[in-house]
């Protein structure tokens, strides 16, 4: 049975470095010296999915997308 896997994708052109995502999901996202997000890992653990979704929705530039991959 295929289990869906989730990951976050940043559109670096749209991203303005607001940093909301790192505040809402510090487990997966940290900020670089200029305030732009760095994704820590490819896959979002199931228990953090709610937070990841909230981070994506809260991005003022809509630069963060939660992607579902079935493979």
């Amino acid at each position: 049975m295929k289990r869906p896997r989730f990951s976050l994708v940043i559109n670096p052109i749209a991203c303005d470095g607001h940093g909301v995502c790192a505040e809402l999901l510090p487990e997966c996202i940290r900020l670089d010296p200029w305030g732009f997000p760095i994704l820590e890992s490819g896959e979002i653990p199931v228990e953090l999915l709610g937070h990841a979704e909230r981070a994506a929705i809260s991005c003022p530039r809509l630069a963060l997308t939660l992607v579902k991959r079935t493979s």
């Binding site: 994708v9 559109n11 670096p12 052109i13 749209a14 991203c15 303005d16 470095g17 670089d32 010296p33 200029w34 305030g35 732009f36 760095i38 997308t65 992607v67």
Partner: protein
């Protein structure tokens, strides 16, 4: 490697009506043999005398032939061409678009310009063949302004001869380092911000490019090779080169002879042999830049001994990229050369992505300090690789990754020299700069 779909001699002479059968090129100069790299373009009549016309391939037969040939993309990524064409062909319901990419933003590269100016018909053969194979109705030829007259004349000759079933349009590539980047080329063609990459996310250009159509962006040299494979077959193509990297490659060699030269060589041959240098000549230059400013440095010894393949170059963290081979002379300061290039590359960014805009500025400054004011470099040489790590993989395109590769490999090859700078201060040399930087390189839209 025998393939029943290979063109027969009758298919090959289709438009030749009474012409003698054309013999495939036997030597290593498959594209450039006898053409030279100066002078007028080969016209249509001479082109057909020389190569014959492109035989007709039905259905997906040519895709199988391309796969069998093992041709890889010569624009820099060395991606299998057959795989790419296949993915465009089945990408969508709308008819695809083909882009013959001769933008060649690499300042040290000149092979694509020579190809489109000397052999425009071979490039156009390949582009039209690609269009027929992937089901495209339109071809864009994306070249710098200097190549437009030769290409336009060739297109007009073909129109008068009624040669091609599809539209061919010339698009001028801006004089920018990123002009040839896949999404930047698409942006130029559709008249958005020219030479400015876009974020493709989950929909690559091969699925959604020009006008939202599946788009095949293929380097002009790859198209020229494909045009020969269509005539002479995969088995012929594989007669030179290695099993992983068959065929020949066009190189732009700088620093070996008095003037830069465009050289065609079989892939897999030791680079020293191509350069006509022995291992004893390793002391006559300081390092070798492979691939261009998006490529990387290797030591003279490594360069002279290595087989010319992408795999061999990657073992040293480098790439043969677009075929640049630049031998750094002994009279220049390598770190000063590296710094000039990194400053140029920083200015050539599109100014869109925060990590690239901020990171490359800091990186360029650190490299400049190492070259000219080593005492000012906080954290020593070790600070520089960490700055590379801060930009890698964080842009919409691979520009920051290319700059990081250029810097990382330079630190490996010129590590001792960097140590000398930190101990004794910068070099004082009156030698004129070596690596070419375009004179007018205005900064693009700042963030």
């Amino acid at each position: 490697m025998m393939n029943s779909a290979a063109p027969t001699s009758t298919a090959r002479s289709s438009a030749g009506s009474g012409r003698p059968a054309v013999q495939p090129p036997a030597g290593a100069e498959r594209l450039l043999g006898g053409v030279g790299t100066q002078g007028a373009a080969v016209g249509l009549a001479e082109h057909l005398d020389r190569w014959g016309s492109v035989p007709t391939w039905r259905g997906t037969a040519f895709l199988d032939e391309l796969d069998a040939s093992g041709l890889r993309g010569h624009g820099g990524a060395w991606f299998p061409v057959g795989t790419k064409w296949r993915s465009v062909r089945k990408a969508g319901l709308r008819s695809p678009v083909v882009v013959a990419n001769g933008a060649e933003g690499e300042p040290a590269s000149g092979k694509d310009r020579v190809l489109v100016q000397q052999l425009p018909h071979l490039v156009l053969d390949g582009a039209v063949l690609a269009a027929a194979t992937v089901g495209a109705g339109r071809v864009y030829v994306h070249v710098p302004s200097g190549a437009v007259p030769a290409v336009s004349r060739a297109i007009e000759e073909r129109r008068q001869a009624g040669l091609d079933p599809c539209d061919i349009e010339v698009v001028v590539a801006p004089d920018r380092f990123l002009a040839g980047q896949e999404t930047a080329a698409v942006a130029t063609i559709i008249g958005r911000k020219p030479a400015t990459p876009t974020f493709v996310g989950l929909k690559p250009v091969r699925e959604q490019g020009v006008g939202g159509r599946p788009t095949l962006v293929q380097n002009v040299e790859s198209l020229a090779h494909a045009a020969l494979i269509a005539r002479f077959g995969a088995e012929w193509f594989r007669r030179v080169g290695t099993s992983q990297s068959p065929g020949t490659v066009l190189l732009t060699v700088t620093g070996r002879w008095a003037e830069p030269r465009i050289v065609e060589a079989p892939l897999g041959v030791p680079l020293g042999e191509i350069l006509q240098l022995g291992l004893g000549d390793a002391r006559s230059f300081q390092g070798v830049l492979l691939g261009g400013y998006g490529g990387g440095w290797v030591t003279p010894k490594e360069a002279l001994a290595m087989p010319l393949t992408e795999e061999a170059a990657r073992q040293y963290g480098s790439s043969i990229g677009a075929g640049v081979v630049a031998l750094l002379p002994t009279n220049v300061c390598p770190l000063s050369e590296v710094s000039r290039v990194v400053t140029y590359l920083e200015g050539q960014g599109a100014g869109q992505c925060g990590p690239c805009v901020n990171g490359l500025a800091v990186l360029a400054n650190a490299v400049s300090q190492l070259a000219h004011r080593p005492n000012a470099l906080r954290g020593g040489v070790a600070a520089i690789p960490s700055l590379c790590g801060l930009v890698e993989g964080r842009g919409a395109c691979r520009h920051p990754d290319g700059v990081a590769r250029f810097v990382r490999t330079a630190l490996r090859v010129y590590g001792d020299h960097a140590g000398l700078h930190l101990q004794r201060g910068p070099c004082h040399t009156s030698a004129s700069p070596f690596l070419p930087i375009p004179r007018t390189a205005p900064r693009q839209g700042a963030r």
